[in-house]
């Protein structure tokens, strides 16, 4: 299982590209993360407090194909 960052934003000014890549806020708080369950090859959207490791919410991420 891994936590993975957000999607590449669609629009960014040239000056904010570096900020988006390198200056992400790392302070502890509830964050939305992508977690992978290897055995089922499923991705989950997990709300986790990065300071306490408390899991606030878990949601199975579905593709259009699966949900539709």
């Amino acid at each position: 299982m891994t936590g993975v960052s957000a999607l590449e934003p669609e629009f960014l000014g040239d000056s904010s590209a570096g900020a988006w890549v390198f200056n992400r806020d790392g302070s502890p708080m509830v964050r939305s993360e992508w977690w992978y369950h290897r055995a089922t090859q499923l991705w989950f959207k997990v709300q986790r407090h990065t300071g306490t490791d408390q899991i606030v919410g878990v949601e199975l991420a579905r593709t259009n194909e699966e949900s539709g």
């Binding site: 891994t2 993975v4 960052s5 999607l7 590449e8 934003p9 669609e10 960014l12 040239d14 590209a17 570096g18 988006w20 890549v21 390198f22 992508w34 992978y36 090859q41 991705w43 490791d53 991420a61 579905r62 593709t63 259009n64 194909e65 539709g68």
Partner: protein, 962 residues
């Protein structure tokens, strides 16, 4: 004089079994159950170790694992703690860190120079002149450090076990046992861990006048077991505290990694020494240390002793030891000595109590304590004694609790740090909590167990926590600094009061800074008997409270853990391709390529000629290579194309059905992470390959992007279910034609096409790709068909002298063609523009991973991957990662290099500064031996720059085959 006592109630030794061993060349006899220290003391050997810096003689202090005075070694193991190690029969032990043996340690001469070796001396002195540092370093390394590691010692591997339990009780003393008893018989899985070989903790060695203590231990040993749900792990210590209540328990057979729902810390206290001149002489011990020696091993470590009293415990110890038959003459009480009934009982034994006094120095004769000097209300009398027991206070064994996130506060009444707050699911019990009496310890253990039960959602009686002790158990300042030094705060590191004062004066005035500058608490015992006094000294220097002086961060491990235990057993996957057995049968030289086993070449005898032969067959005839390690990913769905457009840098709009193209992936910083080939099978079906080492990551990313973007696409990893063979060489079409009826003509099956067909009954996909620079077909097939297809190809090509080729030949072939390998010719900082792959980035696409970074990087390219050649003989000595030197500074590095049979010279790829990339420019490469090789920047590909080989031969061969 130290000696063995008559049998003691509950002693740990078996007097019926003797063990002979030697120490420093002399033979000794131990009883079974003895530790090295106790066996040596039984023979009146008091000096067992030498100190770290000044090589002072050292004896027993805690007789536990709380100090590192007594470190010994054998020929194979070092830094063995003599206080807890049972001697093995016939083994020779010696003290560590001596020059010429314990007795005549030449290093002890350093004591004469102590006045010119203040704290920080080495930092301040040996950094210049810089040129001499290697000499200083060599000298200092010889003097620094403790035991010497024998690198030829047999390697032992321990396997790590994993355990889960409801409650982990750390510490099997009075409180821990009470907690465990409360948890027993409730269908809970409970583990009680204690570092000692037997349960009981202080119950065992304190208060021997009370026989109920021993019966409590005996009852626990008898009743705990499988039925009660209580598992006892003695001789194991909790080494650290990690996330999710994960605690490694280190024992003689390795590490048991326990994950517990609740943890009860009943870890107790470490007794602390007093500080005065020569407080490290053999014969000066912690009072609890003497009790351990007496009650565990029946050792009387002295003839006549004085007790230095900073608390009421001193009187209890005195009474206990007198009852055991030891001779104590005097109690030097740092307070007013008004201990009521205890004082009367002590006096009743004829023991003198000197109130308002302290020990200011000690004197040795023959390497052991001979006398102590006091400061009393009336003067400075000297008392002759060969034992001094220090009972001046305690420090919490709170390392694990700290690591778990506990906050502590200093209770001024009892003079001890106690827990204030703990994360949920974690509880503290016993003297660590500031309770001391037997009844209170038991009640506190029971209360902690009740809290744990409630935390587990179980019904439990409301056990009230007993009140903290209301008397002082630790003297507020048991430190008598001496103008002439040798007043040790830290025995491990020979840190004296003056060293701390120097550190403070030079500005290192916080706990963490003082630790690092003066090295207090940095020795093998990690400050267990030093940090508390250092904190008191710092508080006094800063004119603040002990609480405000602060403590240093607690880190694992509680005690040192052997590296082999941490490493555990070597578990590493080794993936085999479907054709593995074929390679083994052909005597392939198998190498690990990531997790895969791949043939390097197909003969073990002369690899160099094997590679040249394999290379030549591909260039002039035909060869096959197993490329099943490639990642193979299938994309199905209406949104397969949008997914590829987002995940990869290039545009797929021009990729026609039945065609493939080269693709690569970058991360959000624009760094190249993967490359491969994408084939459009139909509009909603794509087939993608990835590099062997990045295959799993590529699948993950594609699946993630699909859900993140909400795309209608299924990403299926076929890496392990599909095998692949690259059939390459000018004669490859002829071999293929004999196995299939598929039209192989350039019109029907052009370069970069993909076709589906049967090969000798095997359903396959053929991809016309040219990685090695010759006409070639990548054949993909269900994995189970691999061996049969491999053999069919070899049979079909027999007439053309087909040969399998390995990774080394393939690397040479692709290098001549100038094709890079992601991860070899690129690293974690290389972007596509530097790698010459800018043509594969389509910034006009509105959105793809890495677009923002690549947009910036495109304008900032500062180096480039270029080819080079070298016709000089020294070119043969160029290796990958050799540096390019220009004007005396590093200007690049070689990423690939090989002798090219086609070019008849050494060729390679190098990443160099942009200014140096003009074709024909001469550059210098620094070789391993320090010499320089002259190379020339060259155009790539070195071989077939116009890609003629892909087209010419297709037509030729098809014509001849049909």
């Amino acid at each position: 004089m130290a000696s063995r006592l008559p049998p003691q109630p509950g002693e740990w030794i078996d007097r019926g079994t003797s063990i002979n061993f030697s120490f420093e060349g002399k033979g000794y006899r131990a009883f079974k159950g003895d530790v090295i220290t106790s066996a040596l003391l039984a023979a009146d050997r008091l000096s067992i170790g030498r100190s770290f810096k000044y090589h002072r003689l050292r004896g027993v202090l805690s007789a536990a694992n709380h100090d590192a005075n007594l470190l010994v070694e054998t020929t194979t193991r070092t830094n063995i703690r003599a206080d807890i190690e049972h001697p093995e029969p016939g083994v020779s032990y010696r003290a560590v860190n001596t020059f010429g043996g314990l007795k005549r340690d030449a290093g002890s001469l350093l004591q004469l120079f102590s006045s010119v070796l203040p704290v920080g001396f080495y930092y301040k002195t040996f950094y210049r002149p810089r040129a001499l540092f290697p000499i200083w370093e060599k000298l200092l390394r010889r003097f620094a450090g403790l035991g010497a590691v024998n690198t030829d010692a047999p390697i032992r591997r321990w396997s790590r076990r994993n355990r889960f339990c409801d409650v982990l009780v750390i510490g099997g003393g009075a409180a821990g046992l009470a907690a465990a008893r409360t948890l027993a018989g409730r269908s809970l899985e409970v583990i009680v861990v204690d570092e000692n070989p037997r349960l009981g903790g202080r119950l065992h060695y304190q208060g021997q006048g009370d026989p109920t203590a021993l019966s409590v231990i005996a009852a626990a040993e008898e009743s705990f077991g499988r039925d009660s749900g209580i598992e006892v792990l003695t001789a194991h210590f909790a080494a650290g505290f990690y996330a999710d209540n994960s605690v490694p328990l280190v024992g003689p057979d390795g590490i048991i990694q326990v994950q517990a729902k609740c943890v009860i810390f009943a870890t107790g206290l470490y007794e602390q020494p007093a500080v005065f001149r020569n407080n490290d002489l053999p014969g000066i011990m912690l009072a609890s240390g003497v009790q351990r020696l007496v009650h565990r091993y029946a050792i009387a470590p002295f003839d006549s002793a004085v007790v230095l009293a900073g608390n009421r415990e001193a009187y209890r110890v005195t009474l206990d030891l007198v009852q055991a038959g030891l001779n104590i003459t005097t109690i030097v009480d740092m307070g007013d000595g008004s201990h009521g009934e205890l004082r009367e009982r002590v006096n009743g034994h004829g023991i003198t109590v000197i109130p308002q006094a302290t020990v200011i120095s000690a004197r040795a004769r023959g390497g052991r304590l001979a006398a102590i000097r006091l400061r009393t209300e009336t003067g400075k009398p000297e008392i002759t004694c060969d034992g001094l027991l220090m009972s001046v206070g305690w420090a919490p064994a709170a390392g694990l609790a700290y690591q778990a996130g506990a906050t502590m506060e200093f209770d001024e009444t009892i003079g001890q740090l106690v827990p204030r707050e703990l994360p949920s699911g974690l509880f503290v019990a016993g003297s660590l909590n500031g309770v001391f009496d037997d009844d209170a310890l038991r009640a506190d253990g029971e209360a902690a167990a009740s809290d744990a039960l409630k935390c587990l959602g179980l019904v439990s009686p409301d056990n009230l926590r007993p009140r903290r002790s209301i008397e002082r158990h630790s003297h507020p300042y048991p430190i008598a600094a001496h103008s002439r030094g040798w007043d040790f705060v830290d025995f491990d590191e020979d840190v004296q009061v003056g060293d701390l004062r120097t550190a403070w004066r030079e500005g290192f005035d916080s706990a963490e800074l003082m630790k690092r500058y003066a090295t207090v608490g940095m020795g093998p015992s990690q400050g267990k008997t030093a940090n508390m006094n250092a904190q008191r000294i710092l508080a006094r220097l800063n004119e603040t409270s002990v609480q405000a002086a602060g403590v240093t961060t607690s880190r694992p491990f509680t005690h040192p853990v052997p590296m082999g235990m941490l490493a555990g057993r070597r578990f590493r996957p080794r993936w085999r391709t479907p054709m593995h057995a074929c390679h083994v049968a052909r005597q392939a030289d198998l190498m690990e390529a990531g997790t895969w086993l791949r043939p390097r070449s197909y003969t073990r005898k002369t690899p160099e000629s094997a590679i040249t032969d394999e290379y030549a067959r591909v260039r002039h005839g035909v060869g096959i290579i197993d490329v099943s390690t490639l990642g193979k990913i299938e994309l199905f769905g209406a949104d397969a194309l949008p997914l590829l457009e987002y995940a990869y840098t290039c545009s797929f709009t021009k990729l026609g059905t039945g065609m493939t193209r080269y693709i690569f992936m970058v991360d959000d910083t624009g760094t190249l992470v993967d490359d491969g080939v994408a084939a459009r099978v139909s509009d909603d079906h794509f087939y993608v390959t990835a590099t062997s080492s990045h295959a799993q990551a590529a699948v993950l990313k594609l699946q993630l992007y699909a859900v993140q973007l909400g795309l209608d696409v299924a990403v299926i990893d076929r890496t392990f279910r599909v095998g692949a063979i690259n059939l390459a060489g000018p004669l490859s079409a002829q071999v293929l034609a004999s196995l299939t009826g598929l039209d192989l003509s350039a019109q029907a099956f052009p370069y970069l096409g993909i076709r589906f067909c049967q090969l000798d009954g095997t359903p396959v996909r053929l991809l016309r790709v040219g990685f090695v620079g010759e006409l070639g077909y990548e054949i993909h097939f269900p994995a189970s068909y691999g061996p049969a297809l491999w053999r069919a190809l070899l049979n079909a090509g027999a007439a053309h002298d087909i040969r399998p080729f390995g990774v080394d030949a393939q690397r040479l072939l692709r290098l001549e063609k100038g094709h890079l390998i992601v991860g070899q010719d690129t690293d974690g900082t290389t972007n596509p523009y530097e790698a010459g792959l800018g043509w594969g980035v389509n910034l006009s696409k509105s959105r793809f991973v890495g677009r923002h970074s690549l947009k910036v990087l495109k304008t900032q390219t500062a180096r480039k991957l270029v080819g080079f050649t070298c016709s000089e003989p020294e070119g043969r000595m160029i290796e990958e990662c050799h540096l390019v030197i220009e004007g005396g500074v590093i200007a690049g590095r070689v990423t690939s290099v090989a002798y090219s049979p086609y070019c008849s010279e050494v060729i390679g790829l190098m990443m160099v500064d942009l200014a140096l990339t003009r074709t024909g420019r001469e550059l210098k490469v620094k070789l391993t031996d320090g010499g320089l090789a002259a190379v020339r920047v060259a155009k790539t590909p070195f071989y077939d720059p116009d890609n003629q080989r892909q087209h010419l031969h297709a037509q030729q061969t098809v014509n001849t085959a049909k």
